[in-house]
């Protein structure tokens, strides 16, 4: 859900002005996001297990070692990691009511996320050019499904953060809105962490023992 509602957007709570009794002192939306992330672990878990189960079982090429480009993907991975850094700065800014900085860093996150996606589009089209498609072999089937699902996650994150950014121009945002940024940030960091796992399992492990 795109949680970019306005300041009184605690509308899911029945009693905005009064009390707000909560059993834990954690915001509902944050618990929701943590529960979703637990579930999302299982989604990616199932996809990663599928990749591992079928690893090395492709009947025809291209095989991973033929097409994967470690230096290129290292760059895109670095860009995605840096976007997490900017995400932290964006949250810190809005917590301190520094809206101009918040906008700058959020724009930076979206930009870096988009650069990562650009790398992925390039990688996918390059793979198709050299004959690796969804239908070519099990590597193509599992690789595109796993990294494609991750790409969709990044895309949703970019749209979500852009929506928050636009909202900050539509209505005044203050440190009271930090929780919206924080929840989106949780999602963003999670998607980054998943990429670290994918980068390790799909890319790095493939080249163990291969001379550089």
């Amino acid at each position: 859900m795109v949680s970019v509602a306005h300041g009184s957007g605690h509308d899911e709570h029945h009693d905005t002005e009064h009390s707000e009794h909560r059993s834990t002192n954690v915001d509902d939306k944050k618990i929701l996001m943590w529960a979703f992330l637990a579930s999302d672990c299982m989604f990616f878990g199932a996809l990663i297990v599928t990749y591992l189960v079928y690893k090395g079982r492709s009947l025809v090429g291209p095989y991973p070692i033929d097409v994967l480009d470690i230096p290129l993907t290292t760059v895109s991975t670095f860009v995605l990691l840096m976007s997490s850094f900017l995400m932290v700065l964006a949250l810190d800014s809005i917590k301190h009511n520094d809206i101009p900085k918040f906008r700058l860093w959020t724009l930076g996150v979206c930009l870096f996320g988009s650069i990562f996606l650009g790398f992925q589009v390039y990688e996918f089209s390059h793979f198709v050019d050299v004959g690796l498609t969804l239908q070519q072999n099990l590597f193509g089937t599992t690789f595109f499904t796993l990294t494609g699902t991750h790409g969709i996650h990044v895309t949703i994150g970019v749209i979500w953060l852009l929506s928050i950014l636009v909202t900050s121009y539509v209505r005044p945002m203050t440190s009271k809105d930090a929780v919206y940024v924080e929840v989106a940030g949780l999602y963003w960091h999670f998607v980054d962490i998943v990429w670290i796992v994918i980068f390790t399992i799909v890319y790095l492990v493939e080249f163990i023992g291969v001379p550089a």
Binding site: M1, V2, S3, V4, A5, H6, S8, G9, D11, E12, H13, H14, D15, T16, E17, H18, S19, H21, R22, S23, T24, V26, D28, I31, L32, A35, F36, A38, S39, D40, M42, F43, G45, A46, L47, T50, V53, Y54, R57, S58, L59, L134, Q135, N137, L138, G140, T141, T142, T145, S163, R171
Partner: protein, 641 residues
Amino acid sequence: MAISRKPASQAPDFSGGLFKRPTTSKGLVSWLTTIDHKRIGILYFLSGIFFFVIGGLEALVIRTQLTRSGLNLISPDLYNQMFTMHGTTMIFLAVMPMSAGFFNYLTPLMIGARDVAFPRLNSFSYWTFFFGAITLNASWFLGGAPDTGWFGYSPLTSTTYSPGLAVDFWVFGLQMLGLASLLAGFNFIVTIINMRAPGMTMFKMPAFVWMTLVVQFLVILAFPAITIALVELMMDRQFGTGFFNPAMGGMPIYWQHLFWVFGHPEVYILILPAMGIVSEVLPTFSRKPLFGYPVVVMSGALIGLMGFAVWSHHMFTTGMGAVANAAFAATTMTIAIPTGVKIFNWIGTLWGGKIRLTTPMLFALGFIFMFTVGGVSGVMHSAAPADAQQQDTYFVVAHFHYVLIGGSIFGLFSGFYYWSPMVTGRMLSEKWGKIVFWVMFWGFNITFFPMHFAGLNGQARRTHSYSQELGLDNLNTLATIGSYILALGVGIFIVHVIRDVISGEKVSEDPWDARTIEWRLPLPTPVYNFDKIPNITHRDQHWFDKHPDLAHSHEHGADGAAHADDDGHSHEDEHGIHLPGQSWYPFVMSFGLFVVVFGGLYSSLLMVIVGFVITFIGCYAWAFEGIGGTHVKPKGQSWYQ
């Protein structure tokens, strides 16, 4: 109604939404846009009952075909569609939504909350379920229903063996149902963790709420496996990938693993709500606290945890090897322990109690008896060598119907008879309720007990007919007669419930001398639930408030002399209680997804795009529509009505 409604004038209007948030409480619009957990609960339960009848009719067709050997009343192809849709319907469209009805209606009331944490998300869950159910059943009218079994084993589901759209309807329908369950799961986890009334620690929650919580964790952790499995199947069918295609090196057995990693926790998703219900009904009608409450709770949690470690017992005959078979046999036998512990706890609750044999109590006792029978045959399957004999026979059919009808359905019926006065403010006839119980009890046992023998004597399940030489004609005829008796029981149930809901005896407060705080409320439940959020000092708070002397001696875990603060936490001020406005957007978003799904089914890119646009508009309008709503003022202590 002794309440006054006035618009929430001070609610800021950002008018980002296309429509104003409706506030009507009558008519079709009020149901389409409702975000009230009680109404959503009612919608879930009625949908569940509707599909329970549909699934039941499919079962009657199956049983009629099997009355004697060698019959050909329906074609083998139609028979396959029948048992596939019977299983899928009963699991996803009958038992799960009926359970969801109880979760929705009761959880906020039992923990002393005004609603769930995310009411619009709750509405979105329901409508997504609704359109998923339509998608699944639309296949009947659009080229034939799926015929691959509810488990959809590969490679039977490949385009080679299942051309046509039936399997695609199944895939897309289940994805929508899964989405609905997942979102509801997140919502209820937040609600239970964060919205308990002051003083209600986790171990003062009613056992039913605990079981609800465990089920939601099972849902959010188990459904991803089937979602991914279905995505992979969809990719195979739509885009020619090789996940389950042996020609490309894919392994059909891998589908079974993914499916049962979901499928076994799903079994506990179906039974734990009924266990929770029975854990509320038995104490009330024994006039005793639940025996060993912490043990019941922890057994439930342990069952949930271990439910993830037993999936391969569905696959003992697939040649996994001795080590895997032995390991999964061991975990399966172990999971019987917490389940058995619960049975002893329920018997302990009855022991020495002042038992009242009301209709809910009869169903709860029936649950214990039949669930135990199903549990015992379940332990028999857990021995892998024995299972090799039982696999795919009617013995297995007998087993899981004992736990799913004798267990889940009887538990849910018990809960229905127990809590329906809260919903309607009218009592259900005890006389007819007991008749329903006995007719269903005998109908059920006559249907399924003979199947144990038919199965051990070699009758295979999922087959259209059987040979006369098996000598099983009479057992099958008996089972068919039983199924009609069971159907008669359900028929009486529907007729007498409709009659009693319209003209039953009115009741305005706790008719059962119950124990938990939802019974503090006047009947039927006021729209705002509690006028004052109660303070909780005891488990079984309502019982304690009524009988401070009696309750105290039973409750060792209670906080000594602390008395309930009768004033509770007032959420009122001069504005009254704020009820948020209803919302169109959950419905709009679910409808958008429905359009996407049909676009996908008929390969219409245009429809897919239109559907996503509708979904997106709904999503953003939802985010910006503002609070809206009304303020409701309970007048003094005179309750609703």
